[in-house]
């Protein structure tokens, strides 16, 4: 087992210090001379026609610079999900300001003023008249033949029908199935709930050059959408990634950049737009609600014969990423389990509801929640232990994912299952009776898979980076990095440091800026460590080669006899002094006219699975329906932890979100299409008191070709959590709740229903 000096360990980066002393400036902390503040005016109707806009009273408020609406804006529509100019699967259906708002929260107008207070006051004074139109709030209703059309072209946005395997197979052994199981699972709209609200700052200088400062996940994507909308050449729009207070996908689509850039262009001044929490919940994006019906056949030996899934997903008012998101759901299970036959049909529908967008896991948590609840039903029908059922069907290293034809790589999910089950004491705990008093105990598990990059998805899977060594031996990394808070900058530093044997804190790494950092697709698809980390490793190796080669010339020695250690080049056989990097750089400049700078483009060529198996213990109060999560254990197939502390930190946050989605998080919608939830007062998340102890076990088998064997963790860690919790609650209570979240109301209702139709005793309300 290789010994590492930096890989695996934590270190303190300058930006971390700036986060603890309040010095780091996030987007809302920026101030530019003459900066104006913007406030959006949002539709109170789920569907309406704007019949009149009178800005007179608003314009009369001191400090107001302008009021803008569809009368002023380009008529061209755009897709908030677009990154590539000619990206397949992008529907340009969103206007800058709606003349026919399509959901409660749709942008109708914007006010710009010298202070945020004046802008907010003026926004309330813009007199807008609406003629309400019929609103369709569920995908089932919107797909009825007589439903009102929400967008031209009808309410069915996209469909898919994927199938692999032998459709005649009922189970792999050829016998007729022992069980046929059907489950329907519903997951609600969720709020990403990054602590930092959505924001954007934009400026338009005297030459018409636009600059956008945004906590986004792709500066090049933001540039595409903004430049195309405003009709500007790409090199006249500069997008700068500013430090971000979390995203979890909520800031990956271009929600505020187009309107803020437009306002800057109109006013010729810097414009800062910061949303409040209510606007973030209702008017940015939600994880889309979906329902999936699963039908499977399983042999008596527990092997899955066929799995047939029908998914219906609500995109909300604009298509955004929903078509791709829904289809992504269909690609998450065949890299996790072996099926005789797998078929997945999906439909995506418009509704007059909040716009759906990608959330951490990008469909994997959604479908894993469905599938893992379903598999517990299968296990129950077979009378088989749920862990054993998984064990008989999980993929093995080197399996081919039949949907993509690609290898799942060194898939160590079975190791995760075995290791986790043992550490969690599954066999012992699952055999314990739940009890028949007020508190019932139960355990549950779930498995999940995710990926490492966007290879084979019609997206550019490459990253170009430059690494430069200064005359004092310090380094500058120039790459389009988008730090979301997970530690990407530190990961890249660690990888480079390990290759060159220098202090990772001596590497200066800026974030993405279209004016100066080379092209990178963005922070999506769990590609940062696996692809960008691999790019950084090759980059560092090239610089190492240059340093060693130059040292060889300086020393009059052969390069093959030299190595690097402690920031210097040494003779392998131990003779002589080391030549410090700083010396090499200085002498190379003067003697050879050579700069210690390398630029490299790395192209990703594989996309293995990352895997997580999670176990949860719960205690349910049958009187109130409240659930206490007693403990969670996560076993993650990560290949190699580049920074163990950050990996565990990512698991903590991922599990907090997964638990919340199982028990208490939901963006609801009333009959008028308004979300009742409007803040953290009623969007409930697990806090420090609620959170259970979490144990993280890492399986580091180093069998894939990521940097130092690393695979992704940030998304996969949230994939199985919700299902593990739901399975634990249902096991504790003997219920079959399949609509999330399992709120106290839903639990009590299920218990009352159960006692009305007893299969086992339960306390009733």
């Amino acid at each position: 087992m290789r010994e590492f000096k930096y890989v695996g360990s934590a270190f303190c980066a300058p930006e971390t210090i700036a986060r603890v002393n309040g010095a780091l400036r996030f987007g809302a902390d920026l101030r530019l001379p003459g900066m104006l503040h913007a406030q959006l005016v949002l539709s109170p109707h789920a569907h309406a026609r704007v019949t009149g806009i009178d800005p007179t009273r608003a314009l009369a408020i001191p400090g107001v610079a302008g009021v803008y609406s569809h009368h002023d804006a380009p008529t061209r529509r755009y897709c908030r999900y677009r990154i590539l100019p000619a990206q397949a699967g992008c529907i340009d259906d969103e206007p800058l300001f709606a003349s026919t708002p399509r959901f409660v929260g749709d942008r109708v107008a914007a006010v710009v003023a010298t202070s945020r207070q004046a802008a907010r006051a003026a926004a309330r004074e813009v007199d807008i008249r609406y003629a309400p139109l019929p609103a369709v709030l569920s995908p089932e209703a919107s797909l009825e033949p007589d439903a009102a059309a929400i967008q031209p072209g009808g309410n069915l946005i996209s469909t898919y029908d994927l199938a692999v395997g032998d459709s005649a197979a009922k189970d792999r052994s050829g016998d007729t199935p022992a069980v046929i199981t059907v489950t329907e699972v519903r997951t609600p709209m969720l709020h990403h709930a990054a602590l930092e609200p959505h924001l954007c700052l934009a400026d338009c200088d005297s030459s018409g050059q636009i600059t956008v400062w945004s906590p986004c996940q792709s500066v090049y994507g933001a540039r595409t959408v903004v430049a195309d909308l405003l009709g500007l050449p790409y090199n006249r729009v500069r997008v700068v990634k500013v430090p971000m207070g979390g995203s979890f996908g909520g800031k990956q689509e271009f929600i505020l950049e187009p309107v803020t850039a437009f306002l800057a262009m109109q006013t010729g001044k810097p414009v800062l737009l910061v949303l409040d929490r209510e606007e973030c919940i209702r008017a940015t994006m939600v994880r889309p609600e979906q329902r999936s019906v699963m039908r499977s056949t399983t042999g008596a030996d527990g092997r899955l014969g066929s799995l047939d899934i029908d998914t219906l997903l609500s995109a909300g008012a604009y298509a955004g990423s929903s078509p791709d998101y829904a289809e992504a759901m269909a690609h998450k299970l065949t890299r996790l389990y072996r099926f005789g036959h797998y078929r997945h049909r999906g439909r995506v529908a418009y509704t007059n509801g909040p716009v759906g967008g990608g959330m951490r896991g990008w469909g994997a948590p959604d479908i894993a929640t469905c599938a893992e609840i379903h598999l517990d039903h299968v296990a129950a029908a077979l009378g088989m232990d749920p862990v054993e059922l998984r064990r008989r069907n999980l993929v093995a290293p080197g399996d081919i994912d039949p949907l993509t034809g690609k290898s799942v790589g060194d898939a160590r999910v079975r190791d995760c299952l075995d290791l986790g089950a043992r550490a969690f004491r599954w066999s012992e705990r699952v055999g314990l009776p739940p009890g028949d008093g007020r508190w019932r105990r139960g355990v549950g598990l779930a498995c999940g898979a995710h990926k490492n990059g966007v290879l084979s998805e019609s997206f550019p899977e490459f990253s170009t980076m430059t690494l430069k060594m200064n005359e004092d031996g310090s380094l500058d990394l120039n790459a389009s990095v988008h730090e979301v808070g997970a530690g990407t900058l530190d990961t890249l530093r660690t990888i480079i440091a390990e290759e060159l044997d220098i202090d990772p804190a001596s590497i200066s790494a800026r974030e993405a800026d279209t004016a100066s950092t080379p092209y990178d697709f963005g922070c999506f698809g769990s590609r940062m460590t696996y692809v960008c980390g691999a790019a950084a490793l090759q980059l560092a190796a090239l610089l190492r080669e240059r340093l060693v080669g130059t040292a060889a010339e300086l020393l009059g020695a052969g390069a093959q006899g030299l190595t690097v250690r402690d920031g210097a080049v040494w003779s392998i056989d131990g003779g002589g002094r080391g030549l410090a990097y700083a010396d090499i750089v200085q002498r190379a400049h003067v003697l050879y006219g050579r700069d210690m700078i390398v630029t490299h483009t790395y192209r990703g060529w594989s996309n293995p699975g990352s895997y997580a198996v999670q176990f949860a213990g719960v205690e349910v109060d049958v009187l109130t329906g409240l659930v206490r999560v007693t403990d969670v254990l996560a076993a993650i197939d990560i290949g190699r932890a580049i920074n163990r502390q950050r990996v565990e930190g990512q698991c903590g946050g991922a599990i907090q979100a997964g638990i919340g989605s199982a028990l208490c998080e939901e963006v609801d919608m009333d009959a008028a299409g308004r979300a009742g939830v409007g803040g953290f007062r009623n969007y409930h998340m697990f806090n420090a008191v609620d959170m259970p102890p979490v144990t993280v076990l890492l399986v580091e088998h180093d069998g894939d070709d990521g940097p130092y064997g690393a695979k992704s963790v940030g998304e996969v860690a949230t994939v199985p959590t919700a299902a593990a919790i739901v399975n634990a609650v249902n096991r504790a209570l003997g219920t079959r709740i399949t609509t999330l979240p399992l709120t106290p109301e839903r639990i009590v209702a299920a218990l009352c229903d159960q006692s009305a139709h007893p299969r086992r005793s339960a306390a009733c309300c």
Partner: protein, 155 residues
């Protein structure tokens, strides 16, 4: 109106309106942007500051209420150029990811350690109950506070 208050040990006079929030005075008038606004309704704790040692959501405090009082923000922790014990332990324990909740967490923890030199884990979690975090799952933050308590208590 004129607000007379002390912020991070400095006595100040600031022009405010009757409805100016303390968070806006800190961030806009004084340029102390370390205090963050996450929700504007006192639920997330990102705006936590200490007023006469008591942790409060500055988004819910009228600036005028700070008149004659002493306000401590994250910028007032430690000494210039030298992070304090809590800050160093946050860094050492990986308690900082995106960093947006961090100032509020530090302020709540500062208040806790001032009134309780040897808090249990449950007491730490209770003290942080009003500070939401979406990145860390809280464990590293709790461990950092416990370590800071031990360090402050001395050998």
């Amino acid at each position: 109106m004129l607000l007379k208050t002390t912020v991070n040990g400095r006595r100040l006079q600031v022009r405010i309106e009757a409805d100016t929030r303390l968070i806006d005075v800190l961030r806009d008038s004084l340029g102390l942007t370390g205090t963050k606004e996450g929700c504007g309704e006192g639920e997330c704790g990102a705006c936590t500051v200490l007023i006469d040692g008591v942790p409060m959501n500055s988004c819910l405090v009228l600036a005028a209420q700070a008149g004659g009082r002493s306000v401590l923000t994250v910028e007032g922790l430690g000494s210039p150029g030298e992070p304090g014990v809590l800050q160093r332990q946050f860094v050492a324990h990986g308690a900082v990811q995106c960093g947006f909740c961090t100032p509020g967490m530090l302020m709540s923890a500062t208040a806790l350690l001032a009134r309780n030199r040897n808090p249990s884990e449950a007491q730490i979690r209770q003290a942080l109950a009003g500070n939401l975090c979406r990145c860390t799952g809280y464990a590293a933050i709790v461990a950092a506070v416990a370590a800071a308590a031990r360090e402050l208590a001395g050998p």
